[in-house]
Every structure is written in structure tokens, then in C-alpha cells.
């Protein structure tokens, strides 16, 4: 079988043999996770400590994010309350006009909701109008947050 005595060993050939034995580095990202874990075990690699650290840091990151969202929400509500307080001082006709403007300004996607609010608006007292205005603003704020 000695057809090619003296052939050199190339880096390509050596790399190819390695890939045949161990699989390519990209395989680790796509093959079933059970196989990956079997290979890690064969490597003598324990990832438990890494996973614990990742879990702890993720918990911190999630807590920070939650806190940030809560802060943003509180600021939004504060602004809303301030607006409502200002509007509350308005006389009936101005308030009525403001609420009607909000209902008409509701987008087409909320047409059914706008009709419900309009029915409530028609029978609302001045006190009801304030609650209605707050409800519409909260709804719009929640929708905007969802869009973000």
C-alpha cells in the first residue's frame, strides 16, 4: 500500500482528523443538548459554577429592570395625576369638551372601546367625567408602553 512514501503531514489534514473525532466547533451550537453534555462530561468539564453565577447575575439584572419599569410607571402616574388635578379645576363645559376630544382622538383600532366610552360620556356627571378622563389616559399610557 506504500503508494506515497514520504508524504508530509499537513495542518489541513491534521485539522480534518481532529474535526472527525471531536466534531467541528459549530456542531456544539446545533447538535442535541444531551450530546453536548455527554461531550462536556468526556472533557471532564463541569459548568455548574458558571450556571450558578449566571443565574445570580440574571436575577440582579431582572430586579434592576423591574425597578426601572416601576420607577417609569410611577413617573407616568404622577404626571397623569397632575393633569387630572389641573383638569379637575375646569368648569363642566371645558371638561366635557376635553373628554370628548380624547374619545375622538382614540385610534381606529380602539373604535369599539371609543363607543363604550362615548356611551358613558353621554350620561356622565362632572365627577364621572374626571374618572372617565383618567381611565382613557391610563388606557392610552398602557397601550403606548406595550408598543414600546
Amino acid at each position: 500500500m506504500a503508494e506515497k512514501k514520504g508524504s508530509s503531514l499537513s495542518r489541513d489534514a491534521l485539522g480534518r482528523v481532529f474535526d472527525l473525532i471531536e466534531g467541528s466547533e459549530d456542531d456544539a451550537l446545533t447538535k442535541p443538548i444531551e450530546e453536548v453534555r455527554e461531550e462536556l462530561q468526556r472533557d471532564g468539564t463541569d459548568t455548574t459554577a458558571l450556571k450558578r453565577v449566571a443565574r445570580e447575575r440574571l436575577a440582579e439584572i431582572r430586579a434592576e429592570a423591574k425597578l426601572e419599569r416601576a420607577r417609569a410607571e410611577r413617573q407616568k402616574l404622577d404626571r397623569l395625576r397632575e393633569t387630572t388635578r389641573t383638569v379637575g379645576a375646569e368648569a363642566g363645559p371645558e371638561l366635557r369638551s376635553r373628554v370628548l376630544g380624547r374619545i375622538r382622538g382614540m385610534s381606529d383600532s380602539k373604535k369599539e372601546m371609543a363607543e363604550v366610552y362615548y356611551r358613558r360620556f353621554e350620561s356622565a356627571t362632572d365627577e364621572d367625567l374626571l374618572t372617565l378622563l383618567e381611565d382613557i389616559d391610563l388606557l392610552n399610557a398602557a397601550d403606548n408602553e406595550h408598543d414600546d
Binding site: M1, A2, E3, K4, K5, G6, S7, S8, L9, S10, R11, D12, A13, L14, G15, R16, V17, F18, D19, L20, I21, E22, G23, S24, E25, D26, A28, L29, T30, K31, P32, I33, V36, R37, E39, L40, R42, D43, T45, D46, T47, A49, L50, K51, V53, A54, R55, R57, L58, E60, I61, R62, A65
Partner: protein
Amino acid sequence: MSSPRKETGRRLEDYSDEWWIDAIDRLTRRANVKLQKKRWLGIHDGDPPEGIEGTDILQIVLDKVLGPDSRKWDPDTSPDLLAFLRDQVDSEVSNLARSAPNKTTSRISADGENPEAGRYWTENLRHCNGPEEIALDNETIERFWRFANSLRSEPDLEEVVIAGLEGAGTRSEVAEMLNVSESEIDNRRKRLARRRRDYVDHAQDSMAVRKGGARHG
């Protein structure tokens, strides 16, 4: 669980713990394979620098991505988190390779330089594909021949190595070349991986003994 899905348009905190656990295992194995391959090709002088392993690479990457002072990932510029982490792993391994002192390389003929180990193999090779004289250091080549010769009592494993040297790059190509099923090749590959690991461990132990002996002698 299959490979982690690309969960684009999400923030760091939106990825579940399960996603991270899966990703950490996959990326650690990737780092292991990259480091092992560099050692196999003689890039790290036979040992990873400062005994570094895949878990060390992942620790560096997690510090960069999840650390309190350096949340490095920007979902707007790199929406695929797994791809971003993969690139971080590759970059860290490359940095190590650049910083590690590469050995002096030379062109060597396998049977000319190591007649005992190389002759058997070169006699059994019909041809080698690819550039035949790309520089590999002597120690890497000798280590490979020693590993290859350690398989002589298991001809079915030897066949797979020969197929690889002769240009077969995938399990299906090897299966076709050897006229056996792909599942048989999978089985042989697993056995070969165990042999390779046993051989590397044994070789490292021997090297440590030799180095210790040299120091004390």
C-alpha cells in the same frame, strides 16, 4: 431541548434561565473544542496558556455580558444573543492564541523525521489532500504519530483516522469511503474521542514527569 432559539428583539433579562443554561453548555463545549484543536495543531505549545480551559473562557465572557459594570451586549446592534456570545468566545480564544508564544515551526516529512512512528502510516496513506508542507512543529507531528500508532490494536478506529488524512471531512464521506453505516462511524468517533482524551492525559502526565525530572536532574 434543541439548539437555543434565536430570540431577537429581546433584552438581556427577557432570556430565561433555561436558555442561559443551555447556551452556557454549548458555548463551553465550543470553547473546549477550539482550545483542544489549537493544542492538537501545536499552537499552544502542547498546553493551553496558563492551563486555561473552556470554563475560564466562559467566565470572561459572562463577566463582560452579565457583569455589573460592563453589560456589553446591545440588542439593537447584535439582535441574536447566541451569535453575539459565540463571537465573544471566539474572540477570547483568539486573544489567547495571539498572546501565547507560538513554537518555532519547520517543515517535516513524517517518515523522514520519525521513522518508527511515521513509516507505518505513510505506507498506509494513498494520498494527503491540501497543502502538504504547511508548517507544523516537530513535537505536534510526533505527538500525532504516537497517537495514531496507539490505535494499531483497533484497526476500525485506525481506518477513520486514515480516511481523515486522505481527505474525508464528514461522517458521511468516511462512511462511504469505508463502506460502513454512518451510525457505525458515529460509534467509532465516540471511541476515538475517548482514546484521544486518554492519550492527551497520558502524554501530559509523561511530559510533567519529564519536565520534573529535568528540573531535578
